[in-house]
Symmetry: C2
Subunit: 304 residues, 2 copies
Amino acid sequence: MVAPVLQKAVREVLKSLSPGSTMVAADLGCSSGPNTLLVISEVMSTIGAYVQETADDSRAMEVQFFLNDLPGNDFNLVFRSLEPQLRSSLFAAEEEKAVPAPCYITGLPGSMYTRIFPCQSVHLFDSSHCLIWRSKVPEDELVSGGRMVLTFAGRKRGEMPMHGGVARVWELLSEALRHLVQEGRIEKKKLRSFNMPYYAPSLDEVTQLIKHNDLFDLEDIKLFESIWDAHDDSDGDVVIDCSSSAESIAKIIRAGIEPLIVNHFGKDILDELFMVYVSILAKDLEKGKAMCPVIVVMLKKSKH
Amino acid sequence: MVAPVLQKAVREVLKSLSPGSTMVAADLGCSSGPNTLLVISEVMSTIGAYVQETADDSRAMEVQFFLNDLPGNDFNLVFRSLEPQLRSSLFAAEEEKAVPAPCYITGLPGSMYTRIFPCQSVHLFDSSHCLIWRSKVPEDELVSGGRMVLTFAGRKRGEMPMHGGVARVWELLSEALRHLVQEGRIEKKKLRSFNMPYYAPSLDEVTQLIKHNDLFDLEDIKLFESIWDAHDDSDGDVVIDCSSSAESIAKIIRAGIEPLIVNHFGKDILDELFMVYVSILAKDLEKGKAMCPVIVVMLKKSKH
């Protein structure tokens, strides 16, 4: 559901570039797992298709791609997966019809809370489920007319802020925390002072914010339902293996908020908390699959 | 001895930039040791001094710095040393008189045998003792008028190719290899087919090559004598602790050629070879310190 929006953004950028120029793209919060290179792969195959359609060789261009994450990210792992023999499999599809453009991949360590690029140096930003941690959009770094594709959890029209697919998994986590309070493993007042800096906006809220902000034109916005457990590709609403599904959802949640938990409650309770969480989640999944409404927006930096 | 040449190159680049632009610099073969960030530090303090001298605030600029090495390099280590608290100590000198320009540091994995930058995107290349592995100068990647500072081992005027400071350490390594042949650890014909792809040119040879090549103007060239054992800062020509000096030189040599040795002789003989090498080297150091003639050149990409 995100891919068509990203493809559209790449095409818009390509149209705006003068022949022979370099397209600069960046993935904010790239992490170091099997999905890290998906965005590059998507961008490159879109360029391939575009070049073929337009049959315009004079547009021979190059792509400089920045993979950004915190300095503690395992960039070594990412870079090793770029070694020639592996790289060719990444670009296998393009290899067949000749690589559409040379792609130079770099690693950019740094917090998105700070400036990480020179002024007006990037044509395309992509950020998937990471923007919740960013307080400031990277508008200075984007060229005028450049595109941003942002993907984040949202809530469906008519749902209250603390209801719906995202709220459900957080509600169950707070249940697990309350359980640890009852067991005397967490102090009651510790729990009371814990605040999850998380808000799942609706399409309308996002649309209004962007219009109000005036820095970007909203070119596309979509909400779709994504299943929390990405390993579950069964049809229907029934979860076939609740405990394995619970384990896989708990991993996603833990990857996202472990630092917050450790910072507030200490790391001693981590394993216990997530064990309790998995069992509460597994029981809840008997009611049906856990879905998360996801919003994807495509923004264009206004020319003023 | 390299620093003044690098400073001069940075100044030339700064002069050529239009106000408010971004300077793109790259260190080819940055490795991941304590020296990795020295080049960035030198570039940034030169910019600081330049900005102060010219007192030209309209030149407010940014620096994008690419650290390049093979994908197997420990970039995680490098990136962690860039975390805010450490970074500020790196730029301590500039911190006092305010940082001269925002510096965005990225990691660029890739072999220098391939293209690693978009066309005409770099203003300054620096490469210290790594260019011996490169078959092709990165002329395409350099902007017209851009600068390259290259540092590599050379030989003094009047010395024969296989004599002098560089040849001495290789000659002793070949002695160690011959010792292993005598011990039956290496086959005689294996040694005979081993070829060290290493050549220490003289100033005249380098100068002629550059003039003949016609892609670059030679703006500066110097030869100086550097001591192989960088830990030895004693005066005079006598080595005070021959075995510790031999150990430290052997480490440098091993870091440089271990892959070649492993590739040709297998890795089983590695430790033994370097143990023998250290003892031969220690004995040889009784004659006096091992010095290496080093050449540093500053090139400007011709405008045609």
